[in-house]
């Protein structure tokens, strides 16, 4: 493996996909994907799994009301946080309605 491939590999984040979104990922619960920011990571997920982004991010770039993002266990309130290599990103569908 050359140095460039290694660098790309190291910048890849581990993304935990919640059950309600796995219809987009063909059932896959953990996805490895790159992105310098949370926004870039979500764009990459949408490129791989078309339609996923709009279900969790609205057209003004806001995180939808019952969706939460955690980076290494800390909640992100928007998509601006920078990501570091090997970060773990968890997408959570919070409780809503009966």
């Amino acid at each position: 493996m050359d140095a460039r491939s290694l660098a790309i590999l190291e910048s890849i984040m581990r993304v935990l996909i919640p059950d309600p979104l796995r219809s987009y990922t063909a059932g896959i619960a953990v996805v490895n994907a790159p992105g310098a920011t949370l926004a870039e990571l979500v764009d990459e997920l949408d490129r791989r799994y078309p339609g996923l982004r709009f279900r969790i991010i609205d057209e003004q770039g806001g995180i939808r009301r019952h969706i939460k993002f955690f980076v290494n266990g800390l909640q992100a309130c928007d998509l601006r946080p920078m990501l570091r290599e090997r970060d773990e990103v968890m997408i959570v569908c919070a409780l809503s309605g009966g």
């Binding site: 339609g51 709009f54 969790i56 991010i57 569908c93």
Partner: protein
């Protein structure tokens, strides 16, 4: 009884959109026996599912979940398989508004076979030219200089959010359209949606300081008769109205409803062949607006003379202690002769009549809260 005459060889299919998914109720031609199929999209809030009368096999469904944002599903095989829209209705980036859900779907004019329209919450108007795969906002409404004044704020909408609904396309002219907004009122466009104007004269808005304003009304459901497109009816927050274009002033036709029942309700359904015949489903709109069947005694009311007089039609319906509501999209008629009339309740029952409302039978029960019923 004659068979129902529909695009599907005499068979009637009812598309039942609920708070928890989509069901289809299949009736044989005589409409005596029914088979319930589903659910599809289990767990999704399905606001509206509509079949395309232009090809008899396409369908669109507007859905979201409690967690996930709104989307549109599209079927080319009468709902057997579905694909998600590539670009669902969404306001322009930077517009500051967010589509909470798509509330209403209307197939376009017969001369534009792949065109569909969608109304959203909050009030937005969208058009697809590829049978629902991609959608774009109609700037003539969404970016109209008066839109904010017409629509008001979120507090001016329904408890489930302000809505754009009742998108009506004149079968004589694809550029002639009407929309209804809760709140906002009824609006008309004669240029394919590039510009709009209020069309509310004669309609009360007794929740506003000016009881007869130019806009700000709350039409719950507006219908245009397909055989007489100049005939409009609306079930409004403040009564039942009729408008015969080119007149501009709505006529109050709810005043002859029994005082104990009142003229308030959500849905209004037209007879497919007789512009003078319509049905409403009254609810209690007194005091704090319980929005239940008045007195716990549900009944349909029919007029056969354009709203001059009304007849109660409750044979077969519960006689007491039945407190359900019928939402604005949850009542419809088929094209049979005599027409079949159907309504779905907030308590998950689907009621049908094979004889234009003279008698009713429960065709399905124990479903989730029913949001919409359409015959396909």
């Amino acid at each position: 009884m004659a068979n129902a005459k529909t695009a599907r060889g005499g068979r009637v299919v009812l598309l039942i959109s609920t708070r928890k998914g989509l069901w289809q109720l299949h009736g044989e031609p005589a409409r005596r026996s029914w088979r319930l199929a589903g659910p599809q999209f289990l767990g999704h809030i399905v606001h509206h599912c509509v079949g395309d009368p232009r090809d008899g096999k396409s369908m669109l469904a507007a859905a979201r979940t409690g967690h996930l944002g709104p989307t549109i599903f599209q079927s080319n095989d009468r709902g057997r398989t579905w694909n998600e829209a590539r670009q669902p209705p969404a306001f322009a980036e930077g517009a500051g508004r967010v589509v909470d859900h798509t509330f209403w779907l209307t197939p376009g004019h017969a001369s534009e076979p792949k065109v569909w329209y969608a109304g959203t919450s909050p009030q937005g108007l969208f058009r697809s030219e590829d049978a629902g795969v991609t959608w774009r906002g109609m700037a003539g409404f969404n970016e109209h200089a008066q839109r904010k004044a017409w629509c008001g704020g979120d507090q001016d909408g329904t408890p489930d959010g302000p809505k754009l609904h009742s998108i009506l396309i004149d079968p004589r002219d694809p550029k002639h359209m009407y929309i209804g907004m809760s709140s906002g009122g009824v609006f008309e466009s004669v240029d394919g949606g590039q510009d709009w104007r209020p069309l509310n004269r004669g309609v009360r808005a007794d929740f506003l300081p000016d009881p007869e304003p130019e806009f700000g009304h709350d039409p719950h459901c507006v219908r245009m008769h397909p055989l007489l497109p100049d005939r409009l009816y609306q079930q409004n927050h403040c009564g039942i109205y009729r408008l015969d274009r080119p007149a501009e002033r709505w006529q109050d036709i709810g005043g002859t409803m029994p005082k104990s029942v009142g003229p308030i309700g959500f849905p209004l359904v037209l007879h497919p062949k007789d512009p003078d015949t319509l049905w409403v489903f009254p609810m209690d709109g007194t005091r704090v607006w319980p929005r239940v069947s008045p007195g716990g005694k549900p009944a349909v009311y029919r007029s056969v003379n354009g709203g001059k007089t009304w007849q109660r039609q409750a044979t077969g319906l519960p006689k007491s202690q039945a407190w359900f509501t019928v939402k604005r999209q949850a009542m419809t008629a088929d094209n049979g002769d005599p027409a079949g009339v159907y309504f779905g309740t907030t308590s998950g029952e689907l009621w049908g009549s094979r004889d234009e409302g003279r008698s009713w039978k429960c065709l399905a029960a124990h479903l989730p809260q029913i949001y919409a019923v359409e015959a396909a």
